[in-house]
Symmetry: C2
Subunit: 241 residues, 2 copies
C-alpha cells in the first residue's frame, strides 16, 4: 500500500476538521493536509478527541504542492447526478474500487475532500487523476465531510477483524460423536438416527462454533449424562433389597 | 433484505443523534429508534441537515420492545481488546459480514449502538443475537457514534455505484485498428509494429475506457491525420511548377 494522505480543501468548520482527524486515526491514518482551510482551535481539538496529534501534525500547503508531491491524486465527489455522463467526473470509482486501484502502488496517494457546502470545484476535480464517489441514496446523497472521510478510510484501511479460534473439523467430529453417544444414552430410536444426526450437523455446521463454545456444549452433555446416571443409580438403590 | 432499524441506546448528545439521522438517510435508511436517549432539539435538527424527517419520525421505545419486535438484534461494540476471547462479545462480525448474514432474512433487523462514553453495557450485549465490530486501529479504536452508524449503513446499503457506458470490445477493436492505420500513416517501422500495438493494447486495456473517451481518441487521431495530410498537400503545392 502507498502512503495515504487525506487532504481537506477549503474546509469551513473546525469541528469537521477535528472529526476528520479522529476518523483517520480510527483507521490508522495520520497524514492530514489542509489546503485553504479554516483556523484550528479548541472546537477542532474537542472533536478530534484522542486524535489531537493528527490535528497538530496537519500540514498546510497549496493545491499545487499536493499535486507535485503525490504519485496519484484522487478527487472525491458527491453522488449527485451520477447517471449524467459528465466527462470531468467520469469514470468514478467507489471507495472499494479505489482500494483495489491503489493497493499495489508505492509513493504517496492523496485523497482530496472539498468544502462542506460545495465540494471540490470543477477546476480542482479536473486536476486530479481519479474520481471517487461514495454510492449514496438518490434522495439525499450529500454526506457530511468527516463521515465521507471515515468511509473512505474504513475501506482503505481494510483492517482484518483479527481472528478468534473457530473449532477445527476434528473438534466438531468429537462433538458429533459425543452427540451420537448421547442419543444412545437417551434411547433415541435407531431408525431416526441418521436423519437426526444430519439435522444436528446442519445446525451446528452453519453456526461456526468457536473452540470455547464446543467445549461448553461437551460440558453440558456430560453434566446431563451424569444426572441421568445418578437417577438410574438411585432407582437401582431403591429397588435393592 | 429485511427492514433495517438503527437503535441508539442511551445517546447523550443531540448532535450525534442528528448526524446519525443524516448518515442513515444518506444510505437510504429511515427507521431510527431511540432508547433512553437525550432530548431532541435544534442542535439535533441542525446536525441532521436534510434528514430532519428521519429525526421527527424517530420512535422512542424500550430495550425490551426492540427485542420483542425484531427478528434479529445486533449489538455493535468497539474494537477494543479484540484478541481477548470474551464469550459475551464473541464471535463478532464485521459490517460486511453482517450484510451477508442479514441479506436473506425477512422481518426486521435492529442494529443497536451504545452510549458515546461507554457503548452498550454487558447486559445489553448479552441480550442481542449477534455482535458487530468495526475493525479499527488498535491505537485508537473508538469511533464517534454517528461515524460508526455511517459505516454500518454504508455496508448494509451496498448501493451499486450505477453504471456508466464502458467501451465494448468492438469499439476497442475499432480503436486499435485506427491506431494501427495511424502508425502506418506516420511510417512506424513494420518490424516494431507487433510489439508497439501490444503495448498500446496493454495501456488502453487496463484503463477501461468509456465510449465517450474512445470517441474523443478517434477524433484526436483523425485531426492529426488531417494535419499531416494538409502539410503534405501544401508541400506538394509548393513543389508544383
Amino acid at each position: 500500500m502507498p502512503e495515504i494522505e487525506i487532504v481537506l480543501v477549503g474546509a469551513l468548520y473546525q469541528g469537521n476538521v477535528g472529526y476528520t482527524a479522529r476518523a483517520m486515526k480510527n483507521f490508522g491514518f495520520t497524514r492530514l493536509v489542509l489546503v485553504d482551510a479554516c483556523e484550528i482551535g479548541d472546537e477542532a481539538r474537542i472533536a478530534a478527541s484522542h486524535a489531537t496529534d493528527v490535528l497538530e501534525h496537519a500540514r498546510r500547503c497549496s493545491f499545487e504542492q499536493v499535486h507535485r508531491e503525490s504519485s496519484l491524486t484522487i478527487a472525491t465527489t458527491g453522488a449527485v447526478n451520477m447517471t449524467v455522463c459528465k466527462p470531468m467526473r467520469m469514470p468514478y470509482y467507489t471507495p472499494r474500487e479505489v482500494r483495489e486501484i491503489v493497493s499495489d502502488l508505492g509513493g504517496r496517494v492523496s485523497i482530496l475532500f472539498g468544502r462542506e457546502n460545495w465540494g471540490l470545484n470543477n477546476e480542482e476535480v479536473e486536476q486530479c487523476d481519479i474520481v471517487c464517489t461514495i454510492p449514496a441514496a438518490a434522495e439525499y446523497p450529500i454526506l457530511n465531510l468527516s463521515h465521507a472521510v471515515a468511509i473512505v478510510c474504513y475501506e482503505l484501511a481494510n483492517l482484518s477483524r483479527g481472528t478468534y479460534p473457530l473449532a477445527s473439523h476434528q473438534e466438531m467430529d468429537c462433538l458429533y460423536a459425543h452427540l451420537n453417544d448421547f442419543l444412545d444414552r437417551i434411547e433415541h430410536p435407531s431408525f431416526k438416527r441418521r436423519r437426526t444426526m444430519l439435522l444436528l450437523r446442519r445446525i451446528l455446521g452453519r453456526t461456526k462454533l468457536t473452540t470455547r463454545e464446543v467445549s461448553t456444549l461437551h460440558g453440558l452433555l456430560r453434566r446431563t449424562e451424569w444426572h441421568i446416571a445418578r437417577g438410574e443409580e438411585r432407582a437401582e438403590e431403591c429397588m435393592a433389597p
